[in-house]
Symmetry: C2
Subunit: 363 residues, 2 copies
């Protein structure tokens, strides 16, 4: 669910059919040297993310970044898949700079194989490109009667509580869990006060940043509404913003992600190796190893329905659970197209022209 | 690390030696019908928690609650240990209302056994009494070259984002990870804006609650400093406080704990079964299954030293990492005694008199 201030203004919206977006993204990946099956995997993660209205991590911000990184040699379009350590329940993979949109589903499927055998599977990946919205990878497990969990260590934009410069990344954490009739739980958040892409998004739509969301360049939390003119004027804060409001918890969750994703991969955190790429921890829990699946699904539905139908507080329309609006948005966007900012369409037109491809079809 | 406003005022402090506190707590548990080895386990969790200065979860608030619950029959002093499901990597235990201070270490040791065999071990426990500060259980793994993680589903005091009544618990999350020369990482937080015990602690020391920490009885977040006269006048908010400040993230972390601790245990969340007791998820990751232990320890020390020695922001003395102040406090309190509020000493005097035990020895 995205705050209204971040939505693309109606006058700037161009709607694109899901199939058209898939077709264009697929060929762009292929032109970068990615094999068709891997291009399809990357496209699926990106388009599903836009269908879920997680616009910070969809095609608008990310596809151009991936194109740039393939061209700069930061991403390897055709790497190997190096298994560094393996036990019945665990594995560690060197991704050799493969895009994380591709390593993520592959790692989660390996974790699921292990969970089928020993109840739980954990696969760590390091030296990888960007994983996109990691909730997507967690949801793969939920589609197979498992609970999926991801922790990511990546980036160097967030100032630890009381510090004066960024030493940690936005280090997202995600969980997905199946339900029977309710939407699956899909929780996927940066451990920073706001995702890094939200600062760029706010700049694009002209929305102010709220107090506690960012710090100045000396690490002092800003205490009033602030318009973004230059992304580089701001440092990110951990979830909570200030110590009094719990930033030590956001900072700690970021370190939890760093331990599980980076340290367990035998990799270096970004503060020690800024160019080291993304590190990720994928866990799959086989529900039937823990309890009766039907009982689990009944309880999950009853819990989610209780939340969804709870009386809202004054001034609010309804109570959500994580994944509900993403599920509803997917149905709506499949029916009515994916809204993109006209500036994003202009980028698509320029890249397709440059690569001598047909333009992105709009509605 | 505790905010100054929550510290026991100097004039009210009575210092108690660690050994004396252990001795008195041990016999109180034994008088409740707990076997000596289990009483020693529970005492260890409680006293280590006070040594770490996690006063919300030490003897001051909790021991009297446990005594009350043993006397009311809510806690079973001599239950069985029923293994409901088991695979090479997982197990689910019905704790039969055993105090969580005792089930926690036992469950984590079983998770560690599994992690030695298949790389990772997950043990879920339900129908349990209170687990105390769950970071203690995570730290058991860190003492054996593993990473320990705990998620708890318990209580019914926190209002989901946009809701008007409490439907979730403070559902804490903890991780502990070993270092070589630095203190081990020990992160243990409620997913609510503040721990439930902090409201009682604020009342005891006469400190105000800050904006965004609590809601009124209709679920509206309070927007100014508020003194607590009656605990029941307030509802807790998720970490973040308001939607704009990220309360949907705190709410989501609480549900993450509920899924991993409660749903995977085959148990019901508190919103569906308020008397159902605590549910917990204990995970142990065997570092050597993932990477070279020496490399891990080098990296961890380098990361923690980088954080500890980082230039602080204006107005702050130093940068901490989770577990550093707990480590320092343990050394200081072992040397100079554990500071308790005189009101707590008075409770000890009354319970020891009632049970015909020697009084708690103070310094």
């Amino acid at each position: 669910m995205i705050l209204d201030r971040f939505k693309v203004p109606q006058g700037d919206v161009v709607r694109v059919p899901e199939a058209a977006l898939r077709q264009t993204a697929q060929v762009i990946f292929e032109r970068m040297g990615v094999a068709p099956d891997e291009a399809a995997e990357a496209t699926d993660v990106l388009v599903m993310t836009d269908l879920r209205a997680v616009e910070t991590h969809g095609v608008s911000n990310m596809l151009r970044a991936y194109v740039r990184d393939y061209r700069d040699g930061k991403l390897n379009p055709a790497p190997g898949w190096r298994l560094e350590r393996e036990t019945p329940g665990t594995a560690v993979i060197d991704a050799e700079r493969r895009l994380g949109l591709i390593t993520g589903p592959r790692a989660m499927r390996l974790a699921m194989d292990k969970a089928r055998t020993v109840g739980v599977g954990v696969v760590n990946v390091h030296n990888s490109g960007h994983f996109g919205a990691i909730g997507h990878h967690a949801l793969l497990a939920a589609e197979h009667n498992m609970v999926g969990v991801c922790f990511t260590g990546a980036g160097l934009s967030v100032v630890p509580t009381f510090a004066s410069r960024p030493l940690i990344g936005t280090n997202p954490i995600a969980i997905a869990a199946p339900a029977r009739n309710e939407a699956p739980i899909l929780f996927d958040v940066a451990t920073s006060a706001i995702a890094g892409n939200k600062i760029r998004l706010a700049m694009r739509v002209g929305a102010p940043l709220l107090p506690g969301w960012v710090a100045d360049k000396e690490g002092r939390p800003l205490s009033e509404d602030t318009l973004v003119h230059d992304r580089s004027e701001f440092l990110q804060l951990p979830l909570g913003g200030t110590r009094e409001q719990g930033s030590h918890k956001g900072y700690g969750f970021a370190l939890m992600a760093e331990v599980l994703a980076t340290l367990l991969s035998g990799a270096l955190p970004s503060m020690l190796d800024p160019a080291g790429g993304s590190k990720n921890h994928f866990a799959a829990y086989n529900i039937e190893a823990f309890t009766d699946l039907e009982r689990y699904l009944d309880t999950m539905d009853e819990m989610l329905e209780t939340l969804r139908t709870a009386q809202p507080a004054e001034g609010h329309e309804r109570v959500l659970y994580p994944g509900l609006s993403e599920h509803e948005e997917t149905l709506a966007r499949r029916a009515h197209g994916i809204p993109l900012h006209q500036e994003v369409i202009a980028w698509f037109n320029s890249i397709t022209a440059e690569l001598d491809l047909p333009p992105l079809q709009t509605m």
